[in-house]
Amino acid sequence: MTEIPERADIVVVGAGIVGNSVCHHLAELGWRNIVLIEKGPLPDPGGSTGHASNFIFPVDHSREITALTTDSMRQYEKLGTLISCGGVEVAREPARVEELKRRMASARAWGVDAELIDPGRVAELVPFVDPDILLAGFWTPSVAVVDPLRAGALMREQAIADGALTVAASTTVTGIRTDGGRVQRVCTDAGDVETSLVVVACGVWSPRIARLAGGQIPLTPAVHQMMDVGPIPEFEASGTAIAYPIVRDMDALMYERQSGADLEIGSYAHRPILHEPDEIPSLAAAALSPTQLPFTSEDFDPQLEQALELFGSILDRPDAGVRHAINGLLSLTPDGAPVLGPSPEVDGLWSAAAVWIKEGPGVGRMMAEWLTHGDCEFDMHGADIARFYPHQRTREHVRARANEGFNKTYGIVHPREQWESARGRKLSPFHARERAAGAVFFEVGGWERPHWYESNRDLLEEFGDRIHDRPHEWDARWWSPIVEAEHLALRERAAMIDLTAFAQFDVRGPGALDYLQRMTMAQLDRPVGRICYTPVLTPGGGFRSDLTVVRLAEDRFRVITGGADGARDRFWFESHLPADGSASLVDVTSAVCTLGLWGPRARDILAATTEDDVSGEAIPFGTARWIAVDGIPVLALRVSYVGDLGWELHAPFEQGQALWDAIAEAGRPHGIAPAGIGVYGTTGRLEKGYRLMGAELDAEYDPVEAGLALPKVKAADFIGKDAYLAAREGDPAATLCTLTVDDHLGAEGIPRYPQGGEPIVTPAGERIVDRKGRGSAVTSAGPAPSVGRHLLMAYLPPEFAVEGTSLQVEYMAERYPVTVARAGRTPLFDPDDTRMKA
């Protein structure tokens, strides 16, 4: 048994594909005193790495996951542990054919070679399937099978050869000691090791190990059923592990692949079967391995029939028997994405969990970069462990969403699709009024936000043909033309919008200004009462966040950020607080509600509710002032994300309903309408060219490219400044542009509306890639009712980022002409901001 060193620079727990890869990349980046602790034996410790089906389909609708996957494939190949076999996703139902077309768009957008094929071609590629029950196939030649156990062993060996790694197998972590919220040492049954950094790469056991340090890793072990049927003489004759393409029978939510002489069948169709991390059997007590639990055949039975339908020619034979069947364990998270990065709860505790075989090596590389440099090549905000609000880390939430999400593994998930479970967890004080007005709620960060109001349906008649109906069900799903009507009502009169989901932090103290200056790109040293919009950059100069900072006093600021990113932003700000205590941060989200009031009548309405002066002179654009609205103390912020005259009204949470009622009452004579986030986040924003974190803005793009570079660079140092300065010096590799769709008519003879994520291609249909290798794809899409066009945003290389350039957008396997309407941040609607500044 290996002796555990007394001290380590970093301890990685878990020698599955993720842990091995983290160690390997840390060693590559120069780390030397790394200790890898594994409870089980090597090379197969008994976790999910040892029983996974090990195939990789590179195309995912998520850019982040596709990037991790293709990076992983490169690594597996370099290690000689990848066999390309090709793979085809087949459609049995018309809806799936549409989904495969959408996958084509993702393949094009992220640069993966793929092709839509007909059933006959599917049968040529995989001679055993019955093409008569198929409608189409999505063929990806680069689909491969990998050996993650071997890859992991090679990664360990390299790190050991570098003199960087000590491996302790069959060693159980019994505790992680912390002091003052910081990791101090890892205790094992073979001795303790002092360290300030622990990476939990324990797959389904991760929550258990993190809890030893007092942290939470929100995932649940869940069953994925697999069986091997054979022998199949044709497979045996091939003499290899895999000679035929892998088939994903998408509508049956299952896959079939050759595995030596057997056909391996896996299913995501059975009922969700969730386990508890604490109740996974030990290595000794498990019949096969701790993550290969007894097969529950009744759950799999419907899949047998579907497998026979597709593969009857080889499965319906007397000699082909079920030779092996398991309930394999994998990790499910509340939103299906991995859980990576530093824990917001315990300093020095890092998570590298809920990672699939197809992403393991790439995740290892990103984690090593993140640990070394503070950020990494790919934008990881969707996988960041800090994205979870406290309620989203609870067992109840994790299980509810995992339960709902499991069957979506191969499902057709609309980009705007809402969760059904664990809803109604965070309600604004306006909620009762909103419900009464027929609000259709979408969720962000647990908050219920009206997306539109059914009570505004009568506005459709008023605005008539200025509103675009969406005749195709897919385009119309999770959408309503009422959004456009609410938009026009705002532009013509006024609208009130619930913005309570904002995350808000009060920063105060003698060091508050210096601290915030260091965190942000914009100059915050402005007079009291000024509102600053500012990017927050990563050390590498990409977008970490963008938010608004209000100077409430010399030494007091309020930071206001979006509900989607509030948890991440809070962790980022808290983890950078000055050690000397000169600045403090208090999360006031739960104390404050926010009502947006915008439109040409906004000032008249607000004036009717207050004795305070709300004129442009009293509250100029870009300033904040305390006023009393019907006796309610309100911080009025003269800003707008929809580009019209008005305010964000911030009030004590418990007085929110009174605020709502006062504005609604005063607005009635002016024809005020409640408007949903559809207006705030899509229509109003897009025609004003405003960027959205997570859509246009992420760590892979810089402020120059996003058109958010400021005229002057402040003197104060700030995170990402060097990179920002460098970006300002050179020509941007891409520029964020606004494009108009010129012709919506699709092949079916009805207009189609791109939703976002689609590739932008040249008139000749060629993929557009910038000099950094980033493909051009739609970051946001939506109608601009005041402009009368459907708008797209996309980063384009300089040669295309020229206003008037004709290009195409590829949507559902068809191409539609588009024109670059704006290169840079100038909006299409009211380019001089006269309305907003009125």
Binding site: G40, P41, L42, A169, S170
Partner: protein, 344 residues
């Protein structure tokens, strides 16, 4: 009376001790044997007398001349009915167990098999408190046996009670019994002796191969080593399932349970199913590439390495030492060099 069954002619020394410990002070321990065992009754009686057994009942009937489980079981049931013992014990050998099982069924009595501990209940109820093995020995079951006549088979690994056994003159009583003629139907009709004198269950050394041997041809070196050490070759379930070895070579829960002086496990991981078959061996040597394999942890000795490297090296070392011995003139044994050997 406590009665010992000697169905296969072998006296197991533990049985009289267990029987004595279960008997009250003046209660005799007697035995029953069958005329068809082929072992002279006098020899058996002599041995039993040494353990304090006072009488040997030898039952006789023409249907008992050849072994037949039903006929022998029926005869034993009759004897139990005659003698009315408080307890009847037999060894865990196949034949003893089979005869006792048939007798129990015919007499309508319960039976506890594979007992490793037997004692009278302290409450004086006359019941037995016992421990028996389950699942091939990975579990122990504590149980209570209550019956007018209590029947049990005693495993080789039984805890032998510390009771004084006074040697006795064991009197032989021969009795004819009635056996229903139709029970001729299950007499052994034919016997085929095994090819070598050594059997898997009795060999002092077993050299066993599993997955790590890789194929039928891989067993050649194991055969050679077994022959060298005066043993036989065994195998794991993997080897049987892959057709590398016949099932009769299988050591394990569903194969043969062995208790060799030395068990050499070559490329066998040591799953429970296998372990319970070899765990009673006095010494176990494991050879495996995986130091974490259960067999490597549980064995007496462990060599980390590939069977195909280790076993030939061991054979070479044995030959080298034998040569050395020959060179010193202590032995004239001539070892034929295997083809390809360049050790000389």
């Amino acid at each position: 009376m406590q009665l010992i069954v000697v169905a296969d002619g072998q006296v197991v020394p533990e049985l009289p001790a267990v029987a004595r410990s279960l008997a009250s002070r003046d209660e005799p321990v007697e035995a029953v044997a069958f005329a068809g065992t082929g072992v002279p009754a006098g020899d058996v009686a002599g041995e039993l007398g040494g353990y304090g057994v006072s009488r040997l009942h030898v039952v006789r009937h023409e249907l008992l001349d050849e072994y037949g489980p039903e006929a022998w079981g029926s005869a034993l049931a009759t004897v139990i009915d005659w003698l009315g013992p408080a307890g009847v014990l037999a060894s865990a050998s196949h034949r003893d167990t089979e005869v006792l099982t048939h007798a129990a069924a015919r007499a309508g009595l319960p039976l506890a098999t594979n007992c490793v501990r037997l004692a009278g209940e302290e409450d004086g109820s006359g019941a037995w408190r016992l421990t028996r093995t389950r699942s091939g020995g990975v579990l122990l079951e504590d149980a209570e046996l209550t019956a007018p006549v209590k029947l049990a088979t005693v495993a080789a690994a039984v805890e032998t009670p510390q009771v004084p056994l006074q040697p006795a003159d064991c009197e032989v009583t021969e009795s004819a019994v009635d056996v229903p003629p139709e029970l001729a139907r299950t007499r052994v009709a034919e016997r085929v002796a095994s090819e070598t004198g050594l059997s898997l269950s009795t060999a002092p050394v077993v050299v066993s191969g599993g997955r790590g041997v890789g194929g039928a041809e891989g067993f050649v070196v194991l055969e050679e080593l077994a022959e060298r050490l005066g043993g036989v070759v065994g195998c794991s379930r993997v080897a049987t399932n892959n057709g590398w070895r016949p099932h009769r070579d299988q050591v394990g829960l569903t194969g043969t349970k062995i208790a060799a002086d030395l068990y050499i496990a070559c490329g066998i991981s040591g799953a429970t199913q296998h372990w319970v078959g070899c765990m009673d061996s006095a010494a176990i040597l494991a050879i495996n590439t995986d130091p974490e394999a259960p067999m490597m942890q549980r064995a007496t000795y462990a060599v980390e390495g590939d069977v195909h490297e280790v076993v030939p090296a061991v054979l070479a070392e044995i030959r080298r030492r034998a040569d050395g011995a020959a060179g010193s003139g202590r032995s004239g044994v001539e070892e034929p060099a295997p083809a390809g050997s360049s050790r000389r």
